[in-house]
């Protein structure tokens, strides 16, 4: 009986694992099967290096560069906001706050993580965009700047909670070693605690990056939607995800446009894949 249970347990977990892997390969396969046919009509060069994305014009063109830049711009913007605030929050919670304060702040940040992205989008449209128009004097509040702020706020909880986990696993012995050598709290945090938690902290940035670059609803709502290479942070952009989600509803099944949206998805997939790969290599190689 005991042996049977053991076998059953093993089988169940085994199939669960297999299922996840199958799902992954299923998704990748779909992307490539539907995406690659586009390249019969559109050259790889045009796709990667042209910024003319006119999928519905009479003279169609499928240059994804502007979309790529759109994604990159809002994601980097989001990181610029979320990295210092998220890491700062994590340091505060893990190193500075008393246990009482901690008990109040932590669930509040978890709450922030639980807000649906469409609500973030509404916040951006209804509050932030008009606020910017009034205060900065721009014509439209839907642009890189707004999208970065909204996405940034959205990924703060990801960065802060994962960084905080990493910080709080730094052994007390290391902090004591540092204090024992006459270091202040600030020196201990910046020179010992944060470097020791580096792996987890960078991991949190990568996770935040992935979340931001893949976010769809927020950018549809607040990034402005114009497929152009931006020249200022107050320009509207059209990230990859926006094109995929919005245009999929309007296109004909099996058309080049249809396939091109899968090609955009491949691009998105490759970006996140490379990012993950780099961090794995970088994090697990260098111990200093």
């Amino acid at each position: 009986m005991k042996v049977f249970k053991e076998i059953l347990f093993k089988a169940v977990t085994y199939f669960a694992a297999i299922f996840s892997i199958l799902a992954l390969f299923g998704i990748i396969l779909t992307l490539f099967m539907e995406g690659i046919p586009m390249f019969q009509e559109v050259s790889l060069r045009e796709f990667l290096f042209s910024s003319a994305w006119y999928p519905t014009n009479e003279h169609q063109s499928f240059g994804a560069l502007a979309l790529f830049f759109g994604s990159l711009a809002v994601t980097i913007g989001a990181l610029v906001i979320a990295v210092p605030i998220g890491l700062g929050t994590a340091v505060y919670i893990s190193e500075i706050a008393g246990s009482r304060t901690k008990e109040i702040i932590k669930p509040m940040i978890e709450l922030l993580a639980g807000i649906p992205s469409v609500v973030y989008g509404l916040f951006g449209m209804a509050f932030l965009a008009p606020f910017l128009i009034r205060n900065i004097g721009i014509d439209s509040g839907l642009n890189i700047f707004t999208a970065s702020i909204v996405l940034g706020i959205m990924i703060i909880p990801i960065i802060s909670s994962m960084s905080e986990d990493a910080l709080s696993t730094v052994p007390r012995a290391l902090r004591e070693a540092s204090y024992g050598l006459g270091a202040t709290r600030w020196e201990t945090i910046t020179r010992v605690v944060i470097p020791s938690a580096k792996t987890g902290i960078i991991g949190s940035f990568v996770l935040g990056f992935g979340r931001a670059i893949g976010e769809t609803m927020v950018v549809i709502m607040v990034a402005g939607g114009a497929a152009q290479i931006p020249s200022s942070v107050f320009d509207p952009v059209r990230p990859l995800t926006t094109s995929i989600a919005v245009e999929m509803a309007e296109t004909v099944l099996g058309s080049i446009h249809f396939h091109s949206l899968f090609a955009l998805a491949i691009m998105l997939f490759i970006i996140t894949f490379i990012t993950n790969l780099f961090t794995e290599l970088f994090l697990f190689k260098k111990v200093k």
Binding site: E176, A177, Y179, G180, L181, G182, R191, S196, K288
Partner: protein, 252 residues
């Protein structure tokens, strides 16, 4: 002629309601090794950690009384904690190297005080590692991770790291309890060698170790100092029955 370096006056310490150190008056003599022995939980580590204000990091801890280092109360409101910890260095039970290179571990104390000149850092790192008897083992790998050292080497590197601050006092809390006999012997000899440069206060559960290396021995029991004196005397003719029982292994 021995000189008094540290004196505690009416030192009392609580962890919340737990009265841990009971009104202790205690003297540490300069350039001697003083051993702190006693059964588990009697407050040895707590007393040791009071000398470099490590207990400040524990919110539940409350301290009364004075600890005078060369006549200056280190608990004075004007005293600078980082300065106290620079003058009174500490080595812990488990080696705790930073996940940095050997060089950066040893240079840490100077670097946080803003020393940037490479020649100064190089000199101090070398001297400290030599003083801690580990230079020859690491001189070709100063820029590799300290985590790649063996436990005994790590502990000697931690001693070097503390010595780099040129402390007056070195506090050692069971520095060999996590080490093999060979590494232990090496650290014991090292302590005796260091005695010319620095005053050593060592907590140990190993009675034989206290007998081998210390000049003075303090026996603590349940938060009180029961007996203090020259090690030879304490070990041969203890005044208190409890000291004798502890030394002969009746309890411990």
């Amino acid at each position: 002629m021995v000189k008094e370096l540290i004196k505690t006056k009416n030192l009392k310490l609580w962890f919340t309601d737990n009265y841990v150190l009971h009104d202790l008056d205690f003297t540490v003599y300069e350039k001697k090794i003083t051993a702190l022995i006693g059964p588990s939980g009697c407050g040895k580590s707590t007393l040791l950690r009071s000398f470099n204000r490590m207990n400040d990091l524990i919110p539940e801890c409350k301290i009364e009384g004075e600890i005078l280092l060369e006549g200056q109360n280190i608990y004075d409101s004007k005293a600078d904690v980082t300065d106290v910890r620079t003058k009174i260095g500490m080595v812990f039970q488990r080696p705790n190297p930073f996940p940095k290179t050997i060089y950066n571990n040893v240079a840490y104390g100077l670097q946080i005080r803003g020393e940037k000149r490479k020649s100064v850092l190089d000199d101090v790192v070398e001297k400290s590692l030599r003083d801690a008897w580990i230079w020859d083992e690491v001189k070709d790998r100063l820029h590799t991770s300290a985590l790649s050292l063996s436990g005994g080497q790590q502990q000697r590197m931690c001693i070097a790291r503390a010595l780099a601050n040129q402390p007056k006092v070195l506090l050692l809390d069971e520095p060999t309890s996590a080490l093999d006999p060979k590494s232990t012997a090496k650290i014991e000899e090292l302590c005796i060698d260091l005695k010319d440069k620095v005053t050593i206060l060592i907590v140990t559960h190993n009675i034989a170790q206290a007998g081998r290396i210390s000049d003075y021995t303090t026996f603590m029991y349940l938060g009180d100092i029961i007996e203090f004196g020259e090690t030879k005397r304490v070990f041969t003719v203890p005044k208190d029955k409890r000291t004798e029982d502890y030394l002969t292994g009746v309890f411990g």
